[in-house]
Amino acid sequence: MQSNQKELLIQKHVDFIVNYGKTHDQYEYEMSDYLRMSGLYWSVTFLDLVKSLDKLNKSEIVDYLKRNQHENGGFSPCDGHDPHLLYSLSAVQIAITYNVLNEINSEKLIEYISNLQQEDGSFSGDCWGEIDTRFSFCAVAALSLLNALDRINIEKAVTFVLSCMNFDGGFGCLPGTESHAGQIYCCVGFLSILNRLHMINVDLLGWWLAERQLPSGGLNGRPEKLQDVCYSWWVISSLKIIGKLEWINIEKLREYIISCQDDETGGFSDRPGNMPDPFHTLFAFAGLSLIKAFPDALKEVNPVFCMPQYVIDRVKVKPQLL
């Protein structure tokens, strides 16, 4: 069922993504409409990385984007749902990748995002007030792609994120909470976009991140947890940003990622033998691209935005890398 060979079945994965939701996985697909915009970003980015973006219908996607922008400027995951910062970032990433920013109302979106900044510099995910460093990342990532970072209070935003730094060099979702690789990716990416990587204790954080690699070659997200393909991405992109990717065993990681490939249906799962899905498929390929595992088949990925590097170059955004 799963492959231990080193072959990467790109065509199968492309088919898996393009047909996702149309066949046996229709139920999963329809039941997850509340995160559809992010799902679209995973598919679009994956297909662009494997040079198959033409497999999706661009104009349908542009319509979908337009339809889901609300009056307040924010984007909802799907028709009729409420807007949220998470889906607003996904929408911007899709629009930038397709180079169709002019099709959405950027000014309204910028307004929506900057209005979500709180007095202490943190960001609320939507009008209901949930605070999380993930949302700080979403806000500055989207604003930097929209060339509008001057619309928020950067110093306060930085101060809040740094207040979530822990003794292990990592970051939690709120001040006082435990470090977590996904959260670290968000905070390191945030500091990279705002040119503040010097605030990080690179030796300490790099060590903690390198300790995420397990004997299987896969990486976990916190001490004494299981390995997972998506955590591989959160960890190695953070390591890449702080310039310490060589502190783990890249070859073993490559083997682990490929062992999560489902060579029957296509797609990648979190661990070998589990159900594949688009989320893990994107992060598997982003990981393979970052470690330059199949340089001829895969485009280069940007570690901060998890988007193709050529797209980031096109909008002239230059996140800091150590």
Partner: protein, 442 residues
């Protein structure tokens, strides 16, 4: 999708499953469109609560439906009396509990619960009703931590409850002790413990022998299972804080360009400073540069340095962008590692300041405790026949902290062993560490 095993099934099973799902999907779509219409029309009533309740119980991650319920409750607040409102909030607590049992990692559900707790307690409902009471809520946290002691959503909820309910931090410290004692492999508890100790120590609510006590707890854990990371990483925190506590105070005055240190022990900064960096910028001190000892403070004038222009630019940027933090890295003669310290801008004095979290009361006793800890770990290392990665690595860190020069050969021997044999996955980390130790201690 996490941890979902792919199972093989017969064609018959497949078909049965398909029909069942088709039915469920149809029901889902129907109820969902009903809710979305009501959301659109701002129909906030009991019917909406009823339909969304069923949908959420099946799928707690639909954020929009939680928002819908919040809107309904807000509209009820204008019309219902307190007793009926309490009933409504109580039923939200019941629903979220059901949803959390289905998915204990549902962001939207945890947040809805917090929103309801805040909202109802702003009207002091928690005093009248057990289910809305802050202290009672700790019971729910404990229940979910019993199911999964690493559930960070639940830990986060616990911090929230303790903070807003103004509950005892000392009790929480005791709770982490119980958790850790029942299972040492619980990094979440160790983490929480670090935060609680910092806070309680700052408020003078824990005894001064905390240093010795924590090292004992750590040793208990690592002697039980030397291969579990949790206590070892906590130990790293403890030793880093300990190392930092030799620097009692650090102040950067940007306007007069003065850098000041106050140390917990007597020594001559002019003899003992290897390097100091501001935001990674190395200060290249002039040959005749002198740190002046005034009172108990060492002051350095940042005008007397070779790369003065770079420093000026850095200080100007700090000011211009109103940066609230600066990192100072300082390497002293007496240890293998440098200290990296974040200084906070004090808006009133306009100075960047750092004060160590912990105080060393008795230097001699302190060094005895540290040496004993090293002896114990080296013993464990022998017992493990030098194959335990963590024993090797932690001995290295301790030896650097205690006396780098004395232990230099052993440190390098252990580092090579780790890089080439015991932990070759992280070979480059150990090699870099070796290079850094050499460079730092030239």
């Amino acid at each position: 999708m996490h941890g979902r095993l792919k199972v093989r099934s017969t064609q018959e099973q497949e078909e049965r499953k398909r029909l069942e799902r088709e039915k469920k999907l149809k029901a889902y779509k129907f109820a969902m469109s009903e809710c979305l219409t009501r959301i659109k029309n701002k129909d906030y009533d009991q019917v909406g609560l009823k339909i969304s309740e069923e949908l959420l119980a099946a799928n707690p991650d639909i954020q929009t439906l939680w928002n819908f319920r919040k809107n309904i409750i807000e509209s009820f607040e204008k019309s219902l009396n307190d007793d009926d409102l309490i009933k409504q909030f109580t039923s939200e607590m019941n629903l979220t509990e059901i949803c959390l049992k289905k998915n204990p990692k549902s962001y939207g559900t945890w947040y809805h619960r917090q929103w309801c707790l805040l909202r109802s307690n702003s009207k002091n409902f928690g005093e009248k009703t057990q289910q809305l009471n802050w202290k009672n809520e700790l019971g729910l946290c404990s229940m979910f931590l019993d199911l999964d002691e690493r559930n960070f959503h639940c830990w986060r909820h616990r911090f929230f409850v303790v903070r807003h309910g103004n509950l005892s931090k000392k009790d929480e410290l005791e709770f982490t002790y119980e958790k850790i004692s029942s299972n040492f492999s619980n990094y979440s508890s160790w983490h929480y413990r670090s935060k609680l100790i910092e806070e309680l120590y700052y408020q003078n609510l824990i005894d001064n022998d905390i240093f010795e006590k924590e090292l004992n707890l750590i040793e208990n854990a690592i002697f039980t299972d030397p291969n579990d990371q949790s206590a070892w990483i906590y130990q790293k925190w403890f030793l880093l804080e300990h190392q930092q506590s030799f620097i009692k105070e650090l102040i950067l005055d940007c306007s007069s360009k003065k850098l000041s240190f106050k140390f917990a022990k007597d020594f001559d900064l002019n003899q003992n400073l290897k390097f100091v960096k501001l935001n990674n910028l190395d200060l290249k001190l002039e040959e005749n540069f002198k740190w002046n000892f005034e009172g108990d403070i060492w002051n350095g004038n940042l005008n007397n340095i070779i790369n003065r222009e770079d420093v000026d630019k850095l200080l100007r940027n700090l000011y211009e962008f109103k940066e609230t933090k600066i990192k100072v890295e300082i390497m002293l003669n007496d240890g293998g590692f440098s200290n990296q310290i974040l200084l906070d801008l004090n808006f009133e004095s306009n100075l960047y300041e750092f004060k160590s979290k912990f105080q060393i009361h008795d230097l001699k006793l302190d060094s005895e405790i540290l040496n004993k800890h090293l002896t114990n770990i080296l013993e464990l290392n022998q017992f493990e026949k030098e194959t335990s990665k963590w024993c090797l690595l932690k001995s290295i860190e301790l030896m650097c902290l205690i006396d780098y020069v004395k232990y230099k050969d052993k440190i390098f021997y252990f580092l090579d062993k780790l890089a080439s044999d015991i932990d070759s996955f992280r070979k480059n980390y150990y090699l870099d560490l070796k290079q850094k130790l050499i460079a730092n201690n030239q």
